[in-house]
């Protein structure tokens, strides 16, 4: 069985960030190769400024305290940890063009690619997840 985990991050809220990065770091810590394809709002999760101010879903703001009590790491910390563990980040070129973003808007060390880049990686992954 392949040791690859392919993840699509297509949403840009705070909950989405935790879903994506918790699974990604846990997989990387379990010695799997992990690649995340960030597309549409998902790009927020690795955007230098926006990743610090990700929003809670409307009406769920009361969970802010819960996050604090559970001592959940901040998103930028998770991003750094994921990269340290070898998780590869790929930003969607098409979305970047639509939104007027360049590689410099994102954290260092990312790759930029298109749908085929993701498909090529995911074709023999043992797990493909979409968030």
């Amino acid at each position: 069985m392949s040791n690859k985990v392919a993840i699509i991050a297509a949403n840009g809220g705070l909950f989405d960030a935790y879903k994506v990065f918790n699974i990604a770091t846990a997989a990387a810590a379990s010695e799997k190769d992990v690649q995340i394809f960030f597309t549409f709002e998902g790009l927020n999760l690795i955007h230098k400024q926006r990743m610090h101010v990700l929003e809670m879903p409307a009406g769920k703001e009361l969970f802010a305290e819960g996050f604090q009590n559970a001592q959940v790491p901040a998103v930028p910390q998770l991003v750094e940890m994921a990269q340290e563990l070898g998780v590869k980040f790929v930003a969607c070129q098409m979305t970047m063009d639509v939104m007027g973003l360049t590689k410099d808007d994102f954290v260092d060390g990312i790759d930029v690619g298109g749908a085929v880049t993701f498909l090529e990686y995911a074709k023999d992954a043992s797990l493909t997840l979409t968030f």
Binding site: A26, A29, S30, A70, V72, P73, L85
Partner: protein, 186 residues
């Protein structure tokens, strides 16, 4: 307290941090040694067992004390342990060892012993055997056991070379033992 070679404090950390920290800490643990992970995350109980299985280490067990979970994982190298040959000529089955009434010497790590051993078995971890051989009689019958028969094979050879005359390596070892277990954990 259960003896471990390396300790990791992951208290207060939420998922996935205990796993991430464990992975990093494991880099500094030598093969065969035991890592103790202290965590308050309740999910760590299921997660660390699953992580060990995925990565190929031996999850020994965990116990809770005052809201802190103490997990014990022994670092394994699966490829190496699968090819390890057992060469000690004198062997016995688990059953033969138990009915013999003779000394059963458990050479697994202290934490493995604590989480379940054959009642009455004597614990001397493989790494301490050379220094502690004098606790055993050279001419008594000794059945040496570990988890799968690899460490006990080495221990049996070591004892025979030191002049012990009535040594047997027990196979398959604790992996095949389904009888009553004595434990030193709650």
């Amino acid at each position: 307290m259960i003896k471990a070679d390396v300790q990791l404090d992951a208290k207060g950390l939420a998922c996935p941090m205990p796993i991430v920290k464990t992975k990093k800490a494991m880099n500094d643990v030598a093969e065969g040694q035991v890592l103790e992970i202290q965590a308050t995350d309740k999910g760590s109980v299921a997660d660390l067992a699953a992580w060990s299985k995925t990565v190929g280490h031996q999850y020994i067990g965990s116990q809770e004390d005052n809201g802190v979970f103490y997990h014990y994982i022994r670092k394994c190298n699966q490829e190496a342990s699968e090819v390890a040959e057992k060469t000690f000529a004198y062997t016995a089955t688990n059953e033969e060892a138990i009915v013999s009434g003779a000394t059963i010497l458990d050479v697994r790590e202290a934490a493995e012993y604590a989480f379940g051993h054959i009642p009455g078995a004597v614990s001397i971890p493989m790494g301490e055997l050379a220094q502690r051989m004098n606790e055993l009689q050279q001419d008594e019958a000794i059945y040496v056991i570990c988890r799968t028969g690899t460490r006990s094979d080495m221990a049996a050879q070591q004892l025979a070379e030191a002049g012990f005359t009535n040594i047997k390596n027990v196979l398959p070892g604790m992996v095949g033992y389904e009888g009553e277990l004595a434990k030193e954990v709650n």
